[in-house]
Symmetry: C3
Subunit: 351 residues, 3 copies
Amino acid sequence: MAISLGELAVRFGCDLRGDPAAEVDSVATLQNAGPRAVTFLANPRYRRHLAQTRAGAVILEPRIADACPVAALIAADPYATYARVAALLYPDRQYSAGVSASARVSAEAFVAPSASIGANVVIEERARIGERVRIGPGCVIMRDTTVDTDCRLSANVTLCHGVHVGARALIHPGVVIGADGFGLAPERGRWLKVPQVGGVRIGSDVEIGANTTIDRGAIEDTVIGDGVKLDNQIQIGHNVQVGAHTAIAGCTGVSGSTTIGRNCMIGGMVGIAGHLEICDGVVITGRTLVSRSLTRPGVYSGGLPADEARRWRRNSVRFRHLDELAQRVEQLGGGRLNTAQEEGEHDREDD
Amino acid sequence: MAISLGELAVRFGCDLRGDPAAEVDSVATLQNAGPRAVTFLANPRYRRHLAQTRAGAVILEPRIADACPVAALIAADPYATYARVAALLYPDRQYSAGVSASARVSAEAFVAPSASIGANVVIEERARIGERVRIGPGCVIMRDTTVDTDCRLSANVTLCHGVHVGARALIHPGVVIGADGFGLAPERGRWLKVPQVGGVRIGSDVEIGANTTIDRGAIEDTVIGDGVKLDNQIQIGHNVQVGAHTAIAGCTGVSGSTTIGRNCMIGGMVGIAGHLEICDGVVITGRTLVSRSLTRPGVYSGGLPADEARRWRRNSVRFRHLDELAQRVEQLGGGRLNTAQEEGEHDREDD
Amino acid sequence: MAISLGELAVRFGCDLRGDPAAEVDSVATLQNAGPRAVTFLANPRYRRHLAQTRAGAVILEPRIADACPVAALIAADPYATYARVAALLYPDRQYSAGVSASARVSAEAFVAPSASIGANVVIEERARIGERVRIGPGCVIMRDTTVDTDCRLSANVTLCHGVHVGARALIHPGVVIGADGFGLAPERGRWLKVPQVGGVRIGSDVEIGANTTIDRGAIEDTVIGDGVKLDNQIQIGHNVQVGAHTAIAGCTGVSGSTTIGRNCMIGGMVGIAGHLEICDGVVITGRTLVSRSLTRPGVYSGGLPADEARRWRRNSVRFRHLDELAQRVEQLGGGRLNTAQEEGEHDREDD
């Protein structure tokens, strides 16, 4: 579809510098946009490409509008405005309501008439599929599971029994929700399975990335709050609670019974131990290991960056003797370094 | 189902303090249990909730029984006893034997009459499905693969050709067993695929978490021992052997040709390099990198915990110069620190 | 199939020491090979098994041929030669062309007559499946996606819309290509979805391991070069470019908009931050965190190896005070240690 810059400015509350009648029909990058494409500049890293752009229009902040060589859509938050423009130019594909002939829907399930159920979908007894839900090929919805209005399950998604998915969820392929948590009781050198009898409750407006897994609760439900965004290949253990509007990047794992607050931002490959509390408003950078509760909002880190291998190895060997090094320094002068407190905390943790 | 406390005590060998005729029909947490629910106290972290519990009964250790305000089922191992009580109160769902009309079963496959084969399951030639096996929707069992008695495959599980799964396995959705290992021979700047002609042998009583992958052997089989428990999103490389009754938490990766002993406990996000030997009885805490064989039982660690970002960054910069720091300390007095041996080991490793 | 050592020597350009008429029909390990099996010795770790081997023949380097107690196929590159021999002895299974009765192929899709489409496969409108492509059970190929000649998709693979897969790709079960990237614009405490309108382009001769995910581009395509080899459970973010003939081991994650060069070797569980450039010929050892661009070929590391837990904990506590330790050393004598430069770099990174 094509739309004029004037209409974009009006719809999204931008100031327009340029011809309001000029039309765009697509989005593109700053470097590669042609005159029918709209682009944006939000990350300063890409600022250097602005002068050469041949875009139809650039969405950008007021303070850099003067530097824009083409039409400018000036917005307080260019990235959010871009997101809205792109959603307008690339509307969701239309689906026709109805159940594919190859879908297997239990006679005891409820499927809303406006829902679209794809090929080879399996819907078990007492599942409930809401209005305008779209379920793509190969998805399995087990018994007693509810998928609320306007959800979209892409393909090959598995929702185990007793899961509730709130309205407008977007669930990507390969996601598994409601598999058993890792509950094991040790007994004489063997493992006894602990039945996982809780469910999973997903709030509204949640997005779940490809091949992410969310385990059912051991007793009560695992809970994902409204507006939570989960990237790909995340593992959420049983009984975890993730607060509303928290975003978690790919490959992160959250161990069982941990509670994460609202409006947190958690980077990729972060590991969070079990039975912790992470308060609201915490930011955790990529690859951090969180092994204690975080009770104050703020930014936390824990990843050591790469180094040239030979140098890394020398430092890494020294790390194995860091305590000895510190003791040597204490002997050389100046007395004790301030680590006694943490040692004590660690000891208590072992109790 | 409802059961009396007296019957629970007799069945599971507990001492009962309370009315043997009182009935329970469910499990619940210490905090939220009502009078018809049984709960347990095993983790001292939750001890503080005991005084307020309104449970029908609490399964707990003898030494804290006096503190229990409601009926107590006193057990030497409360968590194991809880597991058995929960299994009794929440029996597995009944499946009816037979092959779904939408399943595609090769005429050359064998499916035991008591097995239950779900919708859209595909079973290829010469596969063998044992008595009382339940295979959920969308699973694919390729040629020459055997699934022993009483196994349960939840949904969308893929067993490639030539895999053997022992009795009573529980395999969660999205698991892939028997895909090719990562075998590549470098040749003039390209990669030549090394055919992966081994299989996978899974022992009995194994549980495999959602989206975990276990590669087939390059030449001989990848082997998972009896009673092994694997959490979600674990990657097991080709030729790996995991000893009986070892448990591995989520997101851990084991590289090719490594052997892990019996009765090990391996935490989440652990990375184990290839061609190593981990002996019996090793415990590895979460997020550890294992790059050498572990030849003595014991506890091993390797994760640096999160810190406030600004402080982390300062320490992290210092780490890049740790060897220089140590040399400075050596110059200041006291002579060499004890790292020569490890340097040598590292060098040998490079040969 | 059986083949004589003489024919193997001729086909693969080896020197043969032994009876050219002797036949082999299988591959095996050095330790377990019998007289009908061919084996190889490439990793010096296994050299000690050579003297006892009972193999029909061993593929090995010239310099150790004298130590071989059985027939020797002498090759400059024994592992590559072994790969070719194994491929000859274990030819790919034959598939018959045609579309399974249970596959759902859109009338608007094109499937080459020589392609083999398995049970329950779904192929949407305008998808194009090339000659001799084999698509296993449960795969979903969405609209406008192209799978080039001689590709093989094992089972339960999901290719979202607008993906292009080059010739001869091998894609293992559970792979998801073309799911939305993690594009979110923060706005007043909520996340606005940024439409992901790019696609994915996979070159020729690519292998993709089980449950690996490759996201579609935000605007332009995510690109995987020719001959790239990806192991299991890898996550490739949106807009990433991976150069030709790069190999990446399991559980590695590459964040959005990062470019990786040609002929790189990236170990397992490596984490690569977003918007970086990794140049050609970089080797990154397992478990490394890459948070800056790597502009020079070479070997990079970043994983601290496991230690006995008690010792690890002492060193780890000292790490939390490493900056203080370094300051103390500076006070004790010798002046500033050389870290000022990096501090500055870090600061700039925050801008």
